[in-house]
């Protein structure tokens, strides 16, 4: 059978489908979306919300721990981290708003804007994670160390056990630091690929299909 023969039959035959009424269609129209963009937006909102909640929780906790400079420091750092995160994601949110008007453009323009957005988002997200995670680890370790030196009750270990001149401790620190870096590097790469890799690859493939003939 040739495509033309198929077309003639295709046009003659009707699909046996239920006709949904206006109320049913409206109910569907008001449901939750499942596109890659929707997922990105939901993940971002969740991350920002969780960040703000943690900040609030730490701040409240610090308020109740009298005289603990460590907890006060933690609260302050968390607030700074959330502000930095909001600044980083601000342009991404602006792009999302503009993308919400792209659904009636040509398929090529639509795919280009989606791929461009996804690539930019993944780049910003990965960079932000690569920067903030080691900083958080160093700050956390620093606070613990400071606490130990000050011999405060919330120290990681008692003051007398801290000896950075001991080669074994130095190696241990180096190993832990390296493992942390490796874990952070591959962990972030894997999680980004797991969350956004496949939809992005599919959209790139579709765009390539459109661009091939232009070469």
């Amino acid at each position: 059978m040739e495509l033309e023969d198929f077309k003639a039959l295709y046009q003659k035959k009707q699909l046996d489908v239920p006709q949904l009424n206006a109320q049913e269609l409206e109910r569907i129209a008001r449901s939750r979306g499942t596109t890659a963009i929707e997922k990105v937006v939901r993940n971002m909102r969740l991350e920002l919300l969780l960040g703000a909640l943690i900040t609030l929780a730490v701040g409240i906790g610090a308020f109740f721990v009298e005289g603990s400079i460590i907890y006060h420091l933690c609260a302050a750092l968390m607030i700074v981290a959330v502000i930095i995160q909001l600044l980083i994601y601000r342009p991404v949110f602006a792009r999302i708003r503009s993308l919400q008007h792209a659904e009636v453009s040509t398929t090529k323009a639509w795919l280009e804007s989606l791929v461009s957005f996804m690539e930019k988002f993944v780049r910003i997200y990965t960079r932000a994670m690569f920067i903030t995670t080691p900083i958080a680890a160093v700050i956390g370790g620093g606070i613990g160390f400071y606490s130990g030196i000050q011999d405060q009750p919330d120290a990681i270990m008692p003051k007398e056990q801290i000896d950075f001149h001991n080669p074994t401790d130095q190696i241990m620190l180096l190993v832990i630091g390296t493992l942390l870096l490796v874990f952070v590097y591959f962990g972030i790469k894997w999680s980004v690929k797991w969350m956004y890799g496949k939809p992005l690859a599919q959209m790139r493939a579709a765009l390539k299909e459109l661009e091939e003939d232009n070469d």
Partner: protein, 165 residues
């Protein structure tokens, strides 16, 4: 476009959404999810529909854009809406001239399902009698490129059909 008017138009043209769903998804659950996604995208874009083109053309554009960029990430069902539409997405009448014709029709449909997302969009619009110029305008490529692609698609479909025999 007013919401009420949009829903009326959508109701009248919902067959377009079903057709695209059937073309892009084999699995019944996927068809339902894609149906939901297309309706949702159309709903969001309704206020910007100015009537420059026919509603059916506008809906095809949105449906194909949504289908091409749609990605089903997990196996978990999106439980918001259950329509149970997909089981009925097959030709209703059984007025085939012969069993061979019916078989060939189904084989061709399976062959089209195996095409890439863009090729599938071109075939979908071609089957609806859109000319190459309009197809090109909808996809963002020239009519000439559509013609080139159609030639390749015909060759691919022929080859796929031969393999099925």
């Amino acid at each position: 476009m007013q919401q009420e008017q949009f829903l009326q138009e959508l109701q009248a043209h919902q067959r377009i959404v079903y057709k695209v769903c059937r073309m892009y998804c084999k699995d019944a659950d996927d068809q339902e999810d894609l149906f939901q996604e297309i309706v949702l995208q159309a709903w969001r874009g309704a206020e910007r529909f100015r009537g420059d083109s026919k509603f059916s053309t506008w809906l095809y554009q949105i449906a194909l854009n949504a289908a091409i960029s749609w990605y089903r990430k997990s196996q978990k069902r999106n439980g918001d809406v259950r329509l149970d539409i997909a089981k009925n997405l097959s030709p209703a009448d059984d007025s085939w001239q012969s069993e061979a014709q019916e078989l060939q029709y189904r084989q061709m449909h399976r062959a089209i399902e195996q095409l890439g997302k863009i090729d599938k969009a071109i075939v979908t619009l071609y089957l609806e009698d859109y000319d190459y110029k309009t197809i090109g305008e909808m996809l963002g490529i020239t009519a000439n490129h559509v013609a080139v692609k159609m030639t390749r698609i015909r060759t691919t479909l022929k080859s796929l059909m031969e393999k099925m025999d």
